[in-house]
């Protein structure tokens, strides 16, 4: 189970992204790149700074939803747990958006 986002500020702006949303964005980029994404692609795709990207990739690896492959260049892919999470997330997102709720 991926932990929830950090407590949101009282007056969050529409552009504020929770930790949970950033995790999902990273995993979405990896999935979009045929489940083999280099850090640079993830960095641009998920719109993150280098430091934050490294931090989040480490956290996702510790959660067991992504894995690091490749010998010379680092390449990230989703684990089976990560693929299942994304499938569930897609259903939940579709359900919530049917009611007009953003997650």
């Amino acid at each position: 189970m991926i932990p929830s986002g950090q407590p949101q500020p009282q007056k969050a702006t529409a552009k504020y992204r929770s930790q949970f949303r950033i995790y999902v964005d990273i995993m979405h980029v990896i999935q979009r790149e045929n489940n083999e994404a280099k850090p640079t692609r993830i960095l641009y795709g998920a719109n993150l700074s280098h430091d934050r990207l490294i931090k989040y990739l480490d956290e996702l690896k510790a959660l067991g939803v992504i894995q690091e492959t490749g010998t010379d260049d680092k390449v990230y892919s989703l684990t089976q747990k990560g693929i299942e999470f994304m499938n569930n997330f897609r259903k939940v997102e579709s359900f919530a958006s049917a009611f007009g709720f953003k997650i």
Binding site: P3, A98, G100, F101
Partner: protein, 192 residues
């Protein structure tokens, strides 16, 4: 009809709970609580109708019918109030959030509270209509159709006091609304 609607409401509540467990998004928790209340209310109403039916409408059992209807009504009042709260919560407007607590002040069932319930439902239907106009997707259309149908059903429940013909029509509109929610659930859960 109430039993079918109750099962569908609980299914929607379950899906919302799954979403909340995954994302910890509070609006999904409110959606879950709202549909738990709707499902429980409809179940109590259905059971009370069944008891009266089995007692072949004996006068002594009529209070059971009224009790079931009142519990269902209050559950729906709270549930739709909670849904309005969820929509207001999303906009993070503290002053308007207080408005959603209004139904709690009217816990007695009468024409005024019936009108408040219709107002809450129309508000939710409007929000879902705006969502559909922004997204233009079938699931959003089904949810809008469901709440529009439920609004009409409650209008018919109000009118049935004057014209009894509206009673079966109200039940049909209510069931149709829940069937639209079921269609949305089935679409959301179909394999990619």
């Amino acid at each position: 009809m109430e039993f079918i609607a109750s099962v569908i409401a609980i299914a929607v509540a379950y899906q919302a709970l799954r979403g909340y467990n995954l994302s910890k998004e509070r609006t999904l928790l409110y959606l879950n609580l709202s549909f738990v209340l709707i499902g429980a209310g409809l179940l109590v109403d259905g059971l009370s109708d069944l008891i009266v039916l089995l007692a072949r409408g004996e006068r002594g059992f009529l209070f059971v019918f009224n009790l079931g209807y009142t519990i269902n009504f209050l559950a729906q009042l709270l549930a739709y109030g909670l849904l309005v709260f969820a929509y207001l919560y999303q906009t993070r407007s503290p002053s308007s959030i207080a408005l959603a607590a209004l139904p709690v002040m009217f816990i007695q069932r009468n024409t005024l509270t019936e009108l408040i319930l219709i107002f809450l439902l129309v508000y939710v239907a409007t929000q879902t209509a705006m969502n559909y106009s922004a997204n233009k997707n079938v699931n959003a259309l089904l949810v809008f159709g469901a709440f529009a149908s439920l609004s009409i059903a409650h209008l018919f429940f109000l009118l049935y006091i004057l014209i009894p013909t509206f009673f079966p029509l109200a039940h049909i509109a209510q069931l149709f609304g829940f069937l639209l929610l079921l269609a949305m659930l089935l679409r959301v859960n179909q394999p990619a």
